[in-house]
Amino acid sequence: MSALLLEQLLNGVQLGLSLFLMAAGLTLVFGVMGLINLAHGALYMTGAFVCAWTGALTGSFWVGLGAGVLAAAAAGAVIELLVIRRLYDRDHLDQVLATFALILIFSEAARAVFGAAPLWLDVPPALAGSVALPGGAAYPVYRLAIIAAGLAVAAGLYLLIQRTRLGMRIRAGEADREMVGALGVDIATLYTVIFALGAGLAGLAGAMIGPLQSVQVGMGEPVLILAFVVIVIGGIGSIRGALFGAVLVGLVDTLGRVFLPAAFALVLEPSAAAGMGAALASMLIYVMMAAILAVRPQGLFPADA
């Protein structure tokens, strides 16, 4: 039991850190530009498709990974220049609709370019295999690598925002948009850079998920909605809240799916327990979100506090 628990804890952390990569970009873009971006999942999908396609073409996962991140960042920069920057001064409804439109366009474009059949990606040889966990279970190295990458990005973002000139401008932009402009910072370029940065992180999350699940059109949307739950729980605009919320959501979701059906099996007959347990497990994070919001409507780490 303890080996299973440890394995599932790691799975939860791994899901959480993948979600963090998504949520970080969303919350950064909202915090600085006040924009809600539904198309963030499309950038995740872009990263996954380009990584899978390039990886298959070159035979190297690492080339694919780099290409996926760059493609997502580039796609982010392009849509920022063409569409997103017209939305900063619009209300949230317009932002939702325009970025929903972008999802439709991206999804159909991906279908047209890469076809409707899902792509598959192999775990890179360097990260293949598994390590023994205390308690005897074997755990895939690749999942540990995702955890490491997520932690590295979190640390990197922290350093970027706290220690660099760009980070200083980002923090200033969150505090007072007009003032940053008045101080002579090129706001338009700053926004493009931030948006592309968030897009690149989404692309990284998508590229890394390729070896774990099939790469297909629409794959970004469930992740996007989980990322929304994450940033609503964490407090919109807060990177720290995104990290905390992401790991919380990852753990609760993963552990709920494993242990809730088991818990129901103690009181119900097996097939009913499996059905009921699975159904309730899929709702668990939303119930958690509702409970947190009932107590703290601004999330756990409100950005302006």
Partner: protein, 322 residues
């Protein structure tokens, strides 16, 4: 007055289209007209929350789908003699199915609205989306009513003098409900409740200062809006003879929202115009290319960036307040 003329003309056009298709024996187009009526009704529901209450709900598919499942479950148990939750037997009586659909949607909307309305702006959008997703995943993973595969409706429901399996009858029933709901909305919105709702949307501080707490007004509108969407879902499921988690999906929420926007937010007949446009695009562009949703995306992007106000805005000019 001009908006009233445009609204009546749109409804007249839809009715004429359905009747004309029937006269020409084109059953496909009669069903298409019924589809427009169902989708417009769902849009009319969302419009009450979004357009008139200023509540940007991205989760109305939940209510649409719950209405659909209410119809599906009623038909299933009427067929197999079982009972929902062990107590509620199935039925094929149309008014009972409608009532059940509206109640199911309304009962879900009450807690969702209560929690979501504690927040504002972008939080509200994300939370309504998340709650809808919760119901979507529940429908997928709960096996009793078809789970991922959905639920076929073997028994059509019945109304005295009406044969619901007849396309024309079904279109006329859907159309009559759409007209009734639009007239009902018009009456309520022009009355005291509507005045309070307009203030709650435009300036909640003013409403509270006048002595009316905004929250109950908004919640009532949200629940009513969900009930209309639920009714639309019941009709839609019956029209398709099938209900599945796809009716609850967030894409559906987006589509209902797109219909409201294309037609014109906060315009009574906006959803009718939007639904006609949406179904027309789906049918026409979908006939040319399998990538029709991408084209829809481009059109939507164009409307949002360059043509705010939607179809009704273009036809009847900006909103006039009394």
């Amino acid at each position: 007055m001009r908006e009233g003329v445009v609204s009546a003309a749109l409804l007249g056009a839809l009715l004429a289209f359905g009747l004309g298709a029937w006269a020409l024996g084109e059953v496909f187009f009669v069903n298409l007209a019924a589809r427009v009526a169902c989708v417009a009704l769902a849009g009319a529901g969302l419009n009450l929350a979004l357009g008139f209450g200023g509540m940007v709900s991205f989760g109305h598919a939940a209510f649409f789908g719950l209405g659909g499942y209410a119809a599906g479950i009623a038909a299933t148990h009427a067929f197999d003699g079982g009972a929902f939750a062990g107590v509620l037997p199935g039925t094929t009586s149309m008014p009972v199915v409608w009532l059940a659909a509206m109640l199911a949607a309304g009962l879900a909307a009450l807690p969702i609205g209560l929690i979501s309305l504690r927040t504002q702006g972008v939080y509200f959008i994300m939370i309504t989306l998340a709650f809808a997703q919760m119901i979507f995943y529940f429908a997928i993973s709960f096996p009793a009513y078809g789970g991922e595969d959905g639920l076929p409706i073997y028994l059509r429901s019945e109304l005295p003098l009406v044969d619901a399996s007849d396309p024309l009858d079904f279109f006329l029933v859907s159309f009559a409900l759409l007209v009734a709901v639009l007239l009902g909305c018009r009456t309520v919105l022009a009355a005291r409740f509507g005045a309070a709702l307009a203030l709650a949307r435009l300036n909640p501080v003013r409403l509270a200062t006048a002595g009316i707490a905004p929250l109950p007004v908004l919640l009532a509108a949200f629940v009513a809006s969900a009930m209309i969407a639920g009714l639309a879902g019941a009709l839609f499921a019956e029209l398709n003879g099938f209900v599945s988690p796809a009716m609850l999906s967030w894409h559906r929420s987006g589509e209902i929202m797109v219909i409201v926007i294309l037609g014109g937010v906060g315009r009574l007949a906006g959803p009718v115009a939007g639904a006609m446009l949406f179904v027309a695009l789906e049918t026409v562009i979908g006939g040319w290319t399998q990538y029709w949703q991408g084209w829809l995306g481009l059109i939507l992007l164009g409307v949002v960036l360059f043509a705010r106000g939607g179809l009704i805005g273009a036809l009847a000019g900006p909103v006039r307040h009394g």
